[in-house]
Structures are given as C-alpha cells and as structure tokens.
Assembly symmetry: C2
Homo-oligomer: 221 residues x 2
Amino acid sequence: MEHKTISKAVISRLPRYYRYLGELLEDGVERISSNDLSLRMKVTASQIRQDLNNFGGFGQQGYGYNVKYLYTEIAKILGIDRQHNVIIIGAGNLGQAIANYANFEKRGFIIRGMFDVNPQLIGQVVRGVKIMNLNELEGFLKEHDVQIAALTIPKTEAPAVADRLVKAGIKAIWNFAHTDLVVPEDVVVENVHLSESLMRLSYRVCSMQDEEEKEKAKKES
Amino acid sequence: MEHKTISKAVISRLPRYYRYLGELLEDGVERISSNDLSLRMKVTASQIRQDLNNFGGFGQQGYGYNVKYLYTEIAKILGIDRQHNVIIIGAGNLGQAIANYANFEKRGFIIRGMFDVNPQLIGQVVRGVKIMNLNELEGFLKEHDVQIAALTIPKTEAPAVADRLVKAGIKAIWNFAHTDLVVPEDVVVENVHLSESLMRLSYRVCSMQDEEEKEKAKKES
DNA sequence: TAGATTGTTAATCGATTAACAATC
DNA sequence: TAGATTGTTAATCGATTAACAATC
C-alpha cells in the first residue's frame, strides 16, 4: 500500500470512523453513504470521502460503502488487525485500569508484563499478568519481543525509564506521565496528558459561564 | 476580559505552555523570550507570540515575558485559579486513579464525591472521599454545588448516566467512556478516548515499521 | 436508462509562519 | 542611544468544504 505521509488530522479521525462503523455493524447495517454517516457523526460528508480516499477507494458510486468491508479496511490501516505485545510500567491504579480494559486484547494489544518498584505490588497478578520488579525490565525484554510500553509512572521517573525502554529496544511509548519525553526519531511517543485535558475542560466551563453571565446582563439592561 | 472565540488549537496549547512555565518557575528562571521558549518546546516563536496575544500583551519589548506573571495569567485564562467541585462516576481503577492524582487539587479541582453501583466498592474511602451508591446521585447534587463530573464507567451505561447528570445540573462532563455523549449545548463534554489514542499509536508504530522495511529493501537493491 | 453516490478537482477558509515596525 | 524582543500585519501553507464529472 502506498503510504504517503497522511496528515495527522486524518489519522486522528480514523479511530472514530472505526468506532461508528463497529456500531453500525452491530446494528446489522450493511451499507452506508458518506452522507448518512456524516449525519450520525456530525462531520461533513465531504470530509469522510476525502479522508477515506487517502487510503484508497473503498466505496462504490451509487451504492455507498459496505460497512463490514470498510470496517476491516480501517482496521488494517490502523494496524489493529495485527498483534502488538505490550508491557505496562507502573502498576498503580492507572496501570491496572489499562490492564483490565478487556477490549484492548480484542484490538490485538496483548499485555505481556507489568512492572513496578512498589514491593506491595510486586508479585500480584492483574488479569493473569504478574507484576514484576522494575529491575527485571531489561532481562524480560531480552526474552520477549515487545514493541509497545505504556508508561503510567510519576513524571519525575518517566524520562529515565523511557531511556531504559528505548535502550532495550521498545519501539513505541504510550505516555501517561505529565512530561514530554525525548526519544530517537524512530521511536513513537503517543501522549495522554490527562491534566491538560482537564485544563481544557476548565477553560471551556469558565468561558461558558462567562458567556451566560453576559447574556443575562444583556437581558437585564 | 474580551473573550472572543479563540480557536480550539490555541486553547489546546495553553496547558502545555503552562506546564513549561511551571518548570521554568521551579528552576528559578525569571524571564524568557518567545525564542528561548520556542527552542525548549519545539514550536515556533511566532506561534507562541500569536497564541498569547489572543488574550492580551503579556510581554515587554526588549525584555521578553516575566515567567511568574505569565504563569499566573495563563492560570487565570484556563480558569484553574478558581475552585471547581468535581464528582467521579465510576469508582473502578480509572476513577480511583483520578481521585488519587494529587495535583488535581493543586489546580483547584476538588473531589466532592465518588459513585458506583458495585456493592463491593460502595462505602470504601478513597483519598478521604467516600464511594456512594449511584442511586444517591440526585440527592447528593441537590445538597452540593458541583459543576464537573468525571465519567469512568462502561460505554453501555454512559449515555443514561450523562442524561441524569445533565438533569441534575452538571455543567461539564469529563468523559472516559468509549462513546460520544449527546448533551444540551450549554453543557461541556471533554472526551478522553483512550482506545482511540492507542489506535493512533498503533498506526504510527506500523507505518514506522513499514518505512524501515522500505529503507532496508532499498539498501539491499 | 435514471438515480444515487462516489472519487476528485477547485474554491474557501483557517491556522501557521515570516517579517518588521513599535517600543521597552 | 543601541540592542533586543514584542505585538501585529502580511504571506504562506494546509485543511476543510463545495462542486461536479465519472460511474455503479
């Protein structure tokens, strides 16, 4: 497949298409037009067609898109038809929340190990996965072929652990630590900065309140 | 303050500026130019100046920006100088992870209650917050002035609970459920779709691998 | 064949970057 | 005053939307 560089915005939207198509599939819908999908998803039909055409012509004129076919094609594009081996660094609540999320396995993400420094956690088993001592990390990665590491540890520890992960051959870091990681260019970092998300929420709540107060003031005058 | 509609892209970047300024402050840096900050953050100096000027002139020609002043001004813009009362719906691992994140309180987000349907969890205390039965939700919200609800429950339950929250006067939902919520236009929803984040990671890992294989093939030919 | 809907080109819109006059 | 750096306008770039010919 010709993978020219597809814009980040397009990639961002693919998982959402995938989710809606999965729901349509569950509802037994066989085909859908870009227009019908656009109404459900509240995006323009034009954007849907443009986005999909980055990867090929999945539709048929006069018919629309076959839901099941498009669903599996997007899975291929996203690489969730393959298996990914994952480890989780940090077995606190967040790490365990990830480990317990059943759908990850369904999408091909298999959790091979969890690591922590807390002696209270080491040895415990979460969803069939044993929590190991962080100092066993390098040994474990020598024995097992793991590409992805989820990093759910405090930001103070994150850069050092990220370095160790990269040295041990990890190719992607799913970073929940509240800091930016510096890694070689062939290593992928996907950030989930929850505190930033919360601040955006805060901004929007406050500006909503401000607006409403303004409206109110207008009415009163 | 004149809050014209600021673009979403700008708002998205503010928390990151805030984080870097906080680090500079900790390091005892008094002032910084847009250029120096741009080098640290790997964005253009032009963008920093444009972004900040949406909210007012915080800098000084020939001097740059006063770190402490800019830090507190961004806090004001984001609304994290005020207090927000928060409840958490869903006291599983993810809900508890949020409850345990100490910095949230530092940013003015005070957790007033947690709710769940699991009898094993109800009655437990997490970081001084009692887990209540979800059927006590409406009563609780009548007694307490809460604006924000974090929703860490399965997607099947999310829409119904979101409706209840809106009816009970909640003004913002921090949505971790893997579904889009439909709410009135004066209610804010900030989505954290972890599965979508993981799929983006998957895409990037795979296309990185593809690239490397192509490079390799090229060398061999 | 007629109707529907895609794939794709062209037009518009918005966001980013560059440039520079204003000013500390 | 000279140097530095902002605030802001203008230029560029990229992403979204509109339009329509191609075609099922």
